[in-house]
Amino acid sequence: MSATLAVRGLSVFYGQMQALHGVDIDVPKGQITALLGANGAGKTTLLRTISGLNTPRSGSVRIDETELVGKPAHEVVSAGISQSPEGRQVFPNLTVRENLQLGAWIRKDKDGVRADMDRVVGLWPRLGERLAQRAGTLSGGEQQMLAIGRAMMSRPRILLLDEPSLGLAPVIVAGIFETIQAVNQEGTTVLLVEQNAHLALKIAHWGYVLETGAIQKRAPAAELLDDDAIRAAYLGG
Amino acid sequence: MRQGALAYGILALLLAAVWGIELFLVPWTDPYLTDIVIRVGINLLAVMGLALVLGFTGQFSLGHAGFMAVGAYAAAASTLYAGVPPVGGIVVGGLVAALAGFGVGLPTLRLSGDYLAVVTLGFNGIIIVLIQNSPALGGAQGLTGLPVATTFGLTFTCVVLGGLFIRNLLVSPLGRVFEAVRDNEIATRSLGIDTTRAKVLAFVVGAFWAGVSGALIAYYRSSIFPSQFQFDRSIEQVAMVVLGGTGSLSGPLIAATILSALPEVLRPVAQYRMVIYSIVLIAMMILRPTGLLGNHELSDVLKRLWQKRPGARSTAA
């Protein structure tokens, strides 16, 4: 169920502009790794590149021993990486059930898919009540739950989450983070991108700080929580 | 030297050259050759308008021949029914076609470019149907009895005026707006520029010169027929612009010259003409989507060949 993700020397360009400068990241098996950074630091670019939506100019992305660079995005999912993208990106005209069914696109085991759908509904009963509703009619929090649940439907070995707290009320965010932790404890490796550093570090084992496309710091999450410089920059003092 | 004076100097020089040729060369030239040259000139006028619309502004008009039809029939009607002399008829043809361009362009150009392709294509078809069903315009049998006035001199006077007009438009600040609309319309709009107005303007100017081109056809053989302005003529003009280079004025004009003269040379393969055009269009889009000259002008290319080093003008678009 779980795997290690290793990013080495990843450089990504948008035209002439370099968005990532030789980024190295390790996401250890079974743990939650938090990636912190300001807007525009390159967090989303990193996740998009891991998922194969962007092509790096150089560097490698490995899940266990399998190289992912060069694989099209849809094959990265088969390799065991699933992403809940920035801005949630649920399919608004499809129902909640259909969104979840598409999350299981790569799978052929109907019974397993049904069981996993029950599992997602068990985590978020509110989705269960709205299975036949179009995803576009859900609230922001519900859409975020759906986006994460949908990403879980492929039974990923590594789950990438891009800003799950974005634009949501604190109560809802707390619930979502609890669920992320629960999913991790069931054995899924998680790479969590967040601007809300405090929340992210609280559930994470490791933390990275990304600034203008380069890793500035890597440390155990607890250590980053106590780091004065990090507190000043990302935790509001 | 001042820009304005230079431009008038060039204009005077070119017109003098055109009329010099008309007076001293044409009378001693094989009429068959003159005929080809005049027909090339008429195509040049239509194509330079389309180069502005399609090449520079990025709006896919598929009914340019429809505007030629409007110009041709407006000119012919003004002469037959109101006694307007040919030179006035040419102006009438251009203006009426420009008006038609405004009517077609205004509702359509607000939307994404795809709709323009369909509407202009439909416009081309409707115009032909309307003319064919209009007894006053001669129906399918066409209009006859027009005065013959389209000479080498008149045609190329229009070509020179049209060419300089469009060139000046392109080097003006408005020209930058046209290209910005083509390259990224949303970004251009976010700068507070009224992109619809720019597109409509380009479209109206393009239609005007298509109308002039049609009027010249009306006064060339003393008769016109709806079948001269069918859809395949519009396609041919699109092929010329795409082939010559989107974002170039001289490129499409070169392509128009070659492609208008080619059928005369290659009579035996005339039936394959449209097949060849379509293959060339597809291959061009896949292999070299910017056309032969890309966004360069002939003068850039010559300059670069002369200097034998690259970078005469930036290719970044």
Binding site: R150 | I126, L130
Partner: protein
């Protein structure tokens, strides 16, 4: 009253055909934001494929229901292969270039097929009856067996299509890809294969429409897809481009409008109706009758 009923019947019959072709435009537009100008020519080629099949199989000389079904299925299969080939050869290399370039390519493919058709088949050919034909007069209205065949085949195909789009994983993926190719790729959905499937399904419907029209009109021409295809595209825009029920509604509406105008006003303006409707809808409701968004995506 009888005349009106007759016009309505004819209008629905024509509209059903428009709807079948409009579906191909709307589905491809939904996934690629491309007006597939060549779709009308796929339809035309389907008619000539059916003619060839009817001659070779002997159905042309001995019209039977199974024979007609074989010819129709053959034409549909041929169109599917043709549609997928066009996508692979002409459109896929341009997946990342500008929409203008894709549009020009689509026009190029359309012209190529039309002119190849002209070279290969000549200006027009007769099309045989694939089925024994009959006509009845029901309280003054003439009902032809061909109308019933058109309604039956169209309704069947609509049901199958709706089932695919609404109830299968492929249909869900098609809707997902048309919303966002990136988001779909994150589900592991190979967008290119979904696009191919979209072309195949749209072309199959065009193939069926071609056989229905050919059986009805008894002549087929290399330029039959040009105007007819464009009108079907207009029908798709009327209903709201990208919307499957919209394409059906738009097709029926256009069919009715055309027959009513040629019945009560003048048949010469029949071909102008579609484009007048298009300009009106672009002016007043650019998203179409069933559309949700203004059709402006860049």
């Amino acid at each position: 009253m009888t005349l009106l009923l007759q016009q309505l019947l004819n209008g629905f019959s024509l509209g059903a055909i428009y709807a079948l072709i409009a579906l191909g435009y709307t589905m491809v537009y939904g996934t690629l934001q491309l007006i597939n100008f060549a779709h009308g020519e796929v339809y035309m080629m389907g008619a000539f494929a059916a003619l060839y099949l009817a001659k070779v199989s002997g159905v042309a000389d001995n019209p039977t229901i199974p024979g007609a079904i074989v010819v129709m299925l053959g034409a549909m299969a041929f169109c599917a292969v043709l549609g997928m080939t066009i996508e692979r050869v002409a459109y896929r290399p341009l997946r990342n270039s500008s929409r203008l370039n894709m549009l020009i390519t689509a026009i190029g493919v359309s012209l190529l097929l039309q002119n190849l058709g002209l070279l290969m088949f000549g200006a027009l050919q007769d099309f045989p009856s694939l089925l024994p034909e009959a006509r009845w007069t029901v309280s003054g209205v003439m009902v032809r067996s061909n109308d019933l065949v058109i309604f039956g085949v169209t309704a069947t195909l609509m049901v199958v299509l709706t089932w695919i789009v609404e109830r299968t994983q492929l249909g869900r993926a098609m809707r997902a890809v048309s919303h966002s190719r990136d988001a779909a790729a994150l589900m592991g959905i190979p967008a290119d294969r979904i696009v191919v499937a979209t072309f195949a399904i749209g072309s199959v419907l065009a193939g069926a429409a071609a056989v229905l029209v050919a059986m009805d009109k008894h002549t087929i021409r290399p330029d039959m897809g040009m105007t007819f295809g464009l009108k079907a595209f207009v029908a798709a825009v009327l209903g709201g481009i990208g919307s499957v029920p919209g394409a059906v509604a738009g097709g029926l509406l256009l069919g009715l409008a055309e027959t009513l105008v040629s019945g009560y006003v003048s048949s010469t303006f029949r071909d102008a109706i579609a484009f007048l409707l298009l300009i009106l809808i672009l002016l007043y409701k650019p998203s179409g009758l069933f559309g949700k968004h203004v059709p402006e995506k860049v």
